[in-house]
């Protein structure tokens, strides 16, 4: 709240940050973009998160992996308060979002979120999807919002789709529009909730390529994913969750390459073995 509302926002200059690889300036003061401490979350009698501690530093890419129902998505949704934590504290971009005094709408505009189901607004064109939130939330004028939107459509490689409605786009294109929509708000960090799980296999690559580039540009990212190769290549750190707790975390070559815990090994064996993976696919997300 003591921050200037527009810092970290504004139009992403196309390619401006590409390749500089540095930590973006938004991490000023503290290097932790996300700091989760003692997070518990219950739905009725069901305890989904059983005390989670996790820190994501500015510019870091952290992938959360784990079996269905392990609480990965709930953890992500607690970060921008789409789910209200039962107890524990969540600090994001310098705000304690679990503090009831904090205006959550002001914090959320700094946090980009990408959903498994895309959640594009079907009554708006691609351009409308990108400009309406900027205009209504950030108060930008039409011209500025469209300029920012077009810049971000270029980033995801969809400049030719700005007048298309979501229903006219493939799943992969929809998800890239959703990423561009989140980026248009000038977020300091991005949350990805299984962004490729609803996609046909041949469309996964385009979305992962966009995410890979974002990571290279230095975006802070917390990614829930089943894409082990993405986690291995792009993540600075991989977190393995099971049954509402963090079982193991560390650099990808350790967690994915040489897992220390038996549960991690069992999970990876199932995911990486194609025959077993088919069974896994059929479990509800």
């Amino acid at each position: 709240m003591n921050r200037n509302e527009n810092d970290g926002g504004g139009a992403p200059e196309d390619g401006g940050r590409r390749g500089d690889g540095g930590v973006p300036e938004h991490g000023a003061g503290t290097s932790a973009a996300i700091e989760v401490t003692g997070l518990h979350k219950s739905f009725g009698d069901l305890e989904v998160l059983k005390g989670i501690d996790i820190t994501v530093r500015g510019g870091e890419v952290v992938c959360v992996i784990g079996p269905s129902g392990s609480g990965k998505s709930t953890l992500l949704r607690c970060v921008n308060l789409l789910e209200e934590p039962t107890s524990g504290t969540v600090r994001v971009a310098g705000f304690e979002v679990t503090d009831p005094e904090v205006d959550i709408d002001r914090v959320r505009r700094r946090i980009g979120m990408v959903f498994q189901a895309f959640n594009l607004f079907p009554h708006l064109t691609t351009l409308g999807n990108l400009t309406l939130p900027q205009r209504r939330v950030l108060g930008r004028g039409r011209a500025e919002a469209e300029e920012v939107a077009r810049g971000n459509l270029r980033r995801v490689g969809l400049t030719d789709k700005e007048s298309s409605y979501p229903a006219q786009l493939s799943g992969g294109q929809q998800q890239r529009v959703a990423i561009a929509r989140a980026l248009s708000m000038g977020p300091e960090l991005m949350l990805f909730d299984e962004p490729t799980s609803a996609l046909d296999p041949e469309l996964v690559g385009d979305v992962l390529a966009v995410m890979r580039r974002l990571a290279q540009e230095g975006m802070t990212m917390l990614v829930v994913t089943h894409e082990m190769s993405f986690a291995r290549e792009v993540a600075d750190r991989v977190v393995f969750m099971d049954a509402g707790a963090i079982v193991e975390e560390g650099p990808p070559e350790q967690v994915v390459g040489e897992p220390q815990q038996a549960r991690t090994r069992a999970f990876l064996a199932r995911v990486l073995d194609p025959a077993a993976a088919d069974v896994l696919e059929q479990e509800p997300g």
Partner: protein, 259 residues
């Protein structure tokens, strides 16, 4: 083989009954009398142009102001019905149950005669019509709109909120526009019902230039002792409601395709 014969026999009997009924009617009916009662060209001609420039126009005007007011009130009631504040929900439910459960005619009598008598005020006729049609229509539209709002996937609100929109901003910019697209067919249906309900205006004391189709037809019936004006009024109602009905079916087909 025997089953096919049986089917054919039953169909022959069905056609036979129909032909017999039509013949009996054609022979028994007094065609001259029927023509004089229903299709008196002289009487028919006498209705024009007033039946169009006054009656049809007024029917449309009454329907539209009633629909407009009802839609606004219906949206408000739908939002109250979904409010997190229980008293708002109770008020909305009470209103909806009340106005869906009483005849529209009673509302017209209450507003047209009851209120002016009880409070010693005179209300503009157009306001009376707007209130009477709107109050009843709102109860039906509220339930339709509520269902539409609830039919918008939860992910839409979540996406809007995660972009920093407030609950009310997400409702206005994201949920309600989609809800209205979903409920367009039932709303057009409600417009058809209101078009017909606008005939209840006939019981208010109206001046000639305020006549709508039903009152106009009733007046002409008294004057000419002919059913022709009633038939003409009916045809003009159909000229309004049939295209609307067609529109509803097209909208429904479009919605079915979009899903």
């Amino acid at each position: 083989m025997r089953r096919r014969n049986r089917t054919r026999l039953i169909r022959t009997v069905q056609y036979g009954v129909l032909v017999a009924a039509v013949l009996a009617f054609a022979l028994a009916a007094d065609w001259g009398e029927l023509r004089r009662a229903f299709f008196d060209l002289g009487v028919a001609r006498a209705q024009f142009p007033e039946v169009v420039v006054t009656a049809l126009v007024n029917t449309v005007v009454y329907t539209m102001i009633g629909f407009g007011f009802g839609l606004a009130l219906g949206l408000l009631l739908a939002l109250m019905r979904l409010s997190r504040v229980p008293p708002y929900r109770w008020l909305a439910v009470g209103y909806i149950e009340f106005f869906r459960g009483i005849p529209a005619l009673l509302v017209f009598i209450a507003l047209g005669f009851g209120v002016p008598l009880a409070f010693q005020v005179s209300i503009n006729q157009y306001v009376t019509v707007m209130l009477a049609l709107g109050l009843v229509g709102a109860a039906y539209m509220a339930e339709t709109i509520r269902a539409g709002i609830q039919a918008v996937p939860k992910g839409q609100t979540e996406a809007a909120r995660s972009l920093g929109m407030s609950q009310s901003r997400a409702m206005v910019s994201i949920v309600i526009p989609q809800a209205f697209r979903i409920v367009l067919p039932p709303l057009a249906n409600e417009l058809i019902l209101l078009t017909k309900d606008s005939s209840l205006v006939y019981l208010l004391g109206l001046s000639m230039d305020q006549y709508e189709l039903t009152k106009f037809g009733r007046d002409a019936l008294n004057q000419h002792h002919s059913l022709t004006p009633i038939l003409i009024a009916g045809l003009f109602y159909l000229a309004l409601t049939l295209p609307l009905g067609h529109l509803v079916r097209r909208l429904e087909a479009r919605t079915a395709r979009a899903r």
